[in-house]
């Protein structure tokens, strides 16, 4: 498109020729992935957002802003589908391990084939797959995994009592609808950045569901999880699931974002060996941050200055920018009363909770 070519020329003109290579790579990535960001309106492209984003900065800051843009980890829809497919194979193997363990008197530890042919479908019937958010791609997961419709719950906030009643009416027709006999719960979500949100959801889930269904295992299956969320959840889940309930909990991660891929980590490797870049980028956050961008929820967990819960991420998902990433990337609020009202993000975030006032 002519307009887009002109925008790229304008971007190139802001930088010395030594940086043209990076701009060319960004141009390639915009066509390859970034333009498909669902937060862009019709006619909107990565190039125009990059040009506007760069206009936030001045002098040396421009260099750091460009460097940051080149290091964004963008997960496309296709990549997310790939992760949901991989999760399915992990779950399958996990169920086979459980079968072998349960049937130790009958099966040798290596008899996966027998476990599969004899018991897998029974165990699948006793499994429930629950979406933890509207971006968990549960529909894609279901189609690919060929899991029965009745074994998929598209929100954990459902009325469990009504679900069980529905199941009772239908269980003769479909054994998957026997919800009271579900033993294995797989909580599916696309992303866990800090672990705070999941722990809150886990508490709500267990409080709401365990009175009705006496499951024995909960598996959290995030498509993407950071190292720090993994550790936080592993450390704290027992506060949400009382040990006396006898429910075991395990995380089955697919894509893990290591700690050294966060800008806030002192061993940050996103920029290679350079220690200056992470420092400069955090300093951009310091310069442009204003307390007014927080809400009660974010304030309680350390704020979003360096990403929610100090996560320090440069991650963008095709359908939204997580607030665990640096606010410079995603913040947009024209109703804001501070200088940030005119802030131009690279990938504008669609907030989960809109203030309708």
């Amino acid at each position: 498109m002519q307009h887009e070519a002109v925008v790229w020329e304008r971007i190139s003109a802001l930088f010395p020729s030594s940086r043209l290579h990076e701009i060319e790579e960004l141009r390639f990535m915009s066509a390859y992935k970034f333009d498909a960001y669902e937060g862009y309106r019709t006619g909107d492209r990565f190039a125009s957002n990059l040009l506007r984003f760069l206009s936030n900065f001045k002098g040396q800051e421009l260099d750091d802003a460009l460097t940051m843009a080149t290091k964004i980890i963008f997960i496309s829809a296709k990549e997310m589908h790939e992760l949901s497919m991989e999760v399915y194979y992990k779950i399958k193997l996990k169920l086979l391990d459980i079968i072998i363990n349960d049937k130790a008197a009958e099966l040798e530890p290596w008899e996966y084939g027998k476990a599969y042919s004899k018991y897998y479908l029974d165990y699948l019937e006793k499994s429930l797959f629950v979406a933890m958010s509207d971006s968990s791609k549960i529909d894609y997961f279901r189609r690919h995994a060929q899991v029965d419709n009745e074994s998929i719950i598209s929100t954990y906030k459902i009325d469990v009592d009504a679900l069980i009643q529905y199941g009772k009416k239908n269980e003769e027709r479909n054994p998957h609808a026997d919800y009271e006999n579900k033993k294995f719960i797989f909580l599916i979500d696309d992303f866990s950045g800090s672990g705070y949100t999941f722990l809150r959801q886990l508490q709500k889930f267990h409080d709401r569901w365990y009175d009705h269904i006496k499951y024995r295992n909960i598996f959290f299956c995030p498509y993407i999880i950071t190292d720090s969320a993994f550790e936080k959840i592993s450390r704290s889940y027992s506060e949400q699931i009382p040990p006396e309930d006898g429910v075991s909990f395990e995380i089955l991660p697919t894509l893990k974002i290591p700690l050294n891929h966060t800008v806030t980590d002192q061993n940050c490797m996103i920029f290679g060996e350079s220690k200056i870049h992470p420092k400069n980028i955090l300093s951009l956050c310091d310069t442009y941050y204003h307390e007014s961008i927080e809400d009660d929820h974010t304030r309680k967990n350390g704020g979003v200055k360096y990403g929610f819960g100090n996560s320090g991420l440069l991650v963008v998902k095709h359908d939204n920018s997580p607030n665990d990433s640096l606010f410079l990337i995603w913040f947009k609020d024209h109703k804001c009363n501070t200088a940030l009202r005119d802030w131009n993000p690279l990938f504008p975030r669609i907030p989960r909770h809109k203030n309708l006032k």
Binding site: Y89, E111, K114, M269
Partner: protein, 355 residues
């Protein structure tokens, strides 16, 4: 022995986990370990990590590859001898027998000849062995891909009643993949997966290159063959979250020159050959099911990514009858750096058996 692929589930573990979970419960099986004394530290990683599987009836076949065409051959050979000694020490510590197999990678015309020499040596050595109830573990970490494919296939075909496992240790850094200054051999089909490229305008030539961090190999293939359709395969998830995009950026000219969009890209995890196989199978099934086009569609795959992805390419060659198109560097510069994790991939055996 079950030999049905694709399986309904895929078995792979970190080497240490495999040993911990299935030893000694899995006792009674004799281990035949085949590995190459390579130039790098990772040559010795797998045997060290599965050391407890080795017993007095274990046989270790250790391959030493010579390559006079490589200007660094003498230097590399010194590393090989060091690693051969380390492998032997580990085996001897457990009372296992070691047999050395030497082969030459190329003849003087740059034709790969190592695969025939290896097959002849395996046949000769194993003819005298009692192989009932034994498992082959093929450590392909340090084998050039041109030898790796024929070696795995050899064990698939000649020992159908034995368990077959493949071990892989990647280097922690994959820089060797794109730091090579060596010339490459002309692109050719890797034995025994000989494919077809048709010059007829009525036929369809499709290429699935598994992309790594070295675009030179892709260019070598494209200098000889002009494919009408290309479906690049990129590793995702990868060893780091940035690697997938780095690979795509490395090949941006391929995308632009051939008008490849992200819709045409296949993704599969860099460490899972089974999922790679399933991805490719789904595409191949679709492409060859188009009415009237099946007999006129020729699909080739090229393994330029990780060793685990190359194992996936092997499965495609064997079970989808795809041609494997490859170009081998004439020489090799060892990577100075640490070894990564070792993985065991279970290809065939009683774990998949339903009876």
């Amino acid at each position: 022995m079950t030999d049905v692929f694709p399986y309904n589930f895929h078995l792979m573990w970190k080497a240490e986990e495999y040993v911990l979970r299935f030893h000694p419960q899995y006792a009674g099986y004799r281990t035949i370990l085949v590995c190459a004394a390579g130039f790098e530290k990772r040559s010795t990683a797998l045997i060290r990590r599965i050391e407890h599987l080795l017993t007095t009836d274990t046989l270790c076949l250790v391959i030493v590859i010579r390559n006079p065409l490589d200007s660094d051959d003498a230097n590399n050979n010194a590393f090989q001898e060091q690693n051969f000694s380390k492998i032997s020490e580990t085996a001897n510590r457990r009372g296992a027998a070691v047999k050395r197999i030497q082969c030459q990678l190329f003849d003087e015309k740059r034709v790969v000849v190592g695969q025939e020499q290896l097959a002849a040596s395996f046949t000769k050595i194993l003819a005298d062995e009692d192989l009932s109830k034994s498992r082959f573990i093929l450590d392909i970490s340090c084998l050039p891909r041109v030898l790796m494919f024929s070696m795995i296939n050899y064990f698939y075909d000649f020992y159908p009643d034995n368990e077959l496992l493949v071990g892989i240790t990647e280097n922690e850094s994959e820089k060797s993949e794109w730091n090579r200054d060596y010339p490459y051999t002309e692109a050719s089909w890797v034995s025994p997966f000989l494919g077809t490229f048709s010059d007829s305008p009525n036929d369809i030539n499709i290429w699935i290159p598994i992309l790594g961090r070295d675009r030179k190999r892709v260019n070598v293939v494209l200098s000889k063959y002009r494919f009408g359709t290309i479906f690049p395969l990129i590793g995702f998830p990868s060893s780091t979250p940035q690697d997938t995009d780095l690979v795509a950026k490395e090949h941006k000219e391929l995308f632009m020159d051939y008008g490849i969009s992200s819709k045409d890209v296949l993704y599969s995890p860099t460490s899972d050959p089974f999922l790679l196989f399933l991805r490719v199978k789904r595409l191949v099934d679709y492409l060859t099911s188009l009415p009237g086009l099946s007999a006129r569609t020729f699909i080739s795959i090229s393994p330029f990514g990780t060793k685990a992805q190359s194992l996936g390419a092997f499965l495609c060659g064997r079970f989808l009858r795809m041609g494997i198109l490859y170009t081998q560097p004439i020489g090799y510069k060892p990577v100075i750096g640490d070894e990564g994790d070792s993985f065991i991939y279970y290809l065939r055996g009683q774990m998949y058996s339903v009876s």
